[in-house]
Amino acid sequence: MWGTGFFKGLGFILKQLKEKKITSQYPDEPVIMPDRFRGIQHFIPEKCIVCNQCAKICPTGCITLTGKPNPDPEKKGKVIDTYDINFELCILCDLCTEVCPTDAIVMTNNFELATYTRDNTLKDRIWLDKNNINVREENH
């Protein structure tokens, strides 16, 4: 019959009042990301061999690093001195972690990166080293 749809619609909408809300309370409750989510990197200075591959592969050129000779005269090679990721530029493409031969740089699930100034987006070696929670299990 013509017109019954109005009441059907009104009744359906009224029933929605008691339904469970489908929205997530994001800032109050954290969002759990899937395992392979690409968040900001975690850097382990001890593992780094200063091969420079991450800086070379980076499509946006956001990684700058410098090495210094190994303080232990017995050992050859270099150790990392400074390691900066300019997070204004980083596109989280995951290439630096794929290319790293020693897994010195790995991805984490952290994505809460909003800051008030652009200066805070430059992440240095110390910050990246401390960023050691929610490190991604599977890196390749």
């Binding site: 109005f6 619609g9 009104l10 359906f12 909408i13 009224l14 929605q16 009042l17 339904e19 469970k20 809300k21 489908i22 929205t23 309370q25």
Partner: protein
């Protein structure tokens, strides 16, 4: 209130009247603020969301913050606009909306003007707001605004006819245009929603269209006309248009409560609850219906809208008037 109106003029009476007006304005403003909050909350729940919940406890201060924002915003007048008309249009739209409240009785003792032609006054003044809307649309010098304004006028003039005609059944039954007499007639007999059910339905639909609300929100039509006739308005003048819209919700729901739901009349003899509470309950039920309809129905098309008014609602309203007159004549003869 009634004895105050019949007293001779004195400065004290003037002060009392003016302060009563200010109190009503305050009540209306608070109603508008919390009607918007209530609307957003209810529609949020209906759409499985939470609605505003950030400002204050349960988001209670959200609309207060919104109003404050509108107050301190810059009042922009477009360069090519008709400046004078642009500036007075919101005032023309709002003044009748507020003036309507004068004739609505809220309970036995709380009313502001005991006008013998209260319903006529309501019908006449609510049409004046259309002028403000059209002027606002035209003076903005904007295509969206003029289209919104034209649609609004076409729609409101069309729906005014069935709206006024749906009054007539009640007026025939009561023999009075006075809102207090109408409530008194319902206190003696039954609420007019039962004998005048058709009239009630017509009033509900035509009233929804008069308010320019979904599903009849073609004048505003957010997704095609941006905001319709007030697209160029900002700050305080925008607030005035919004205010007049929500004051019309207040006025229309009050009039509907008075005419069809028995005003402050207590149902089932529950007279220990004061009449004002009953009025508020019935009134809130109707306001809730408006929000409920907004969450349910999609917007109608222009040709459907006009066809519905002239081909369905007006014949039905005429039929309702005829049937009511017939029954009244038969019952008086018999």
């Amino acid at each position: 209130m009634a004895e105050l109106l019949s007293q001779p003029f004195s400065w004290l009476n003037l002060i009392i009247m003016v302060s009563a007006g200010v109190v009503v304005l305050g009540v209306v403003l608070v109603f508008v603020m919390y009607a918007i909050y209530f609307e957003r909350k209810v529609i949020g729940w209906m759409q499985l969301r939470n609605g505003p919940n950030r400002v204050g406890p349960w988001g209670l201060f959200q609309t207060v913050a919104d109003v404050l924002k509108l107050m301190i915003k810059e009042d922009i007048v477009p360069a090519k606009a008709d400046r004078f008309l642009f500036l007075i249009a919101p005032i023309i739209a709002y003044t009748p909306a507020f003036a309507i409240i004068a004739v609505i009785p809220f309970s036995e003792n709380v009313f502001f003007a005991d006008v013998n032609v209260g319903i006529l006054y309501y019908g006449a003044l609510s049409s004046i707001s259309i002028t403000g809307i059209l002027l606002g649309g035209w003076a903005s010098n904007n295509k969206y605004a003029i289209m919104g304004g034209m649609r609004s006028v076409a729609q409101m003039v069309s729906y005014e006819v069935p709206l006024i005609m749906s009054f007539l059944g009640v007026v025939l039954l009561t023999g009075s245009l006075n809102m207090k007499d109408i409530v008194a007639a319902q206190q003696d007999g039954m609420w007019f929603i039962i004998p005048q059910f058709l009239g009630f339905v017509i009033f509900l639909i035509a009233g929804n269209a008069e308010l320019n609300r979904t599903p009849f929100d073609l004048p505003e039509a957010e997704n095609e006309l941006v905001a319709g006739y007030f697209v160029e308005y900002s700050g305080f003048r925008f607030a005035f248009f919004m205010l007049s819209e929500y004051v019309y919700i207040f006025a229309l729901s009050s009039v509907m409560t008075v005419m069809f739901l028995g005003g402050w009349d207590a149902p089932f003899g529950l007279t220990f609850i004061p009449g004002g509470v009953w009025f508020a309950l019935k009134f809130l039920l109707l306001v809730f219906y408006l929000f409920w309809a907004r969450a349910t129905f999609p917007r109608v098309k222009t040709q459907q809208l006009m066809g519905f008014a002239w081909k369905v609602l007006i014949p039905l309203a005429l039929f309702n008037v005829m049937i009511t007159a017939l029954f009244k004549t038969i019952s008086q003869a018999g």
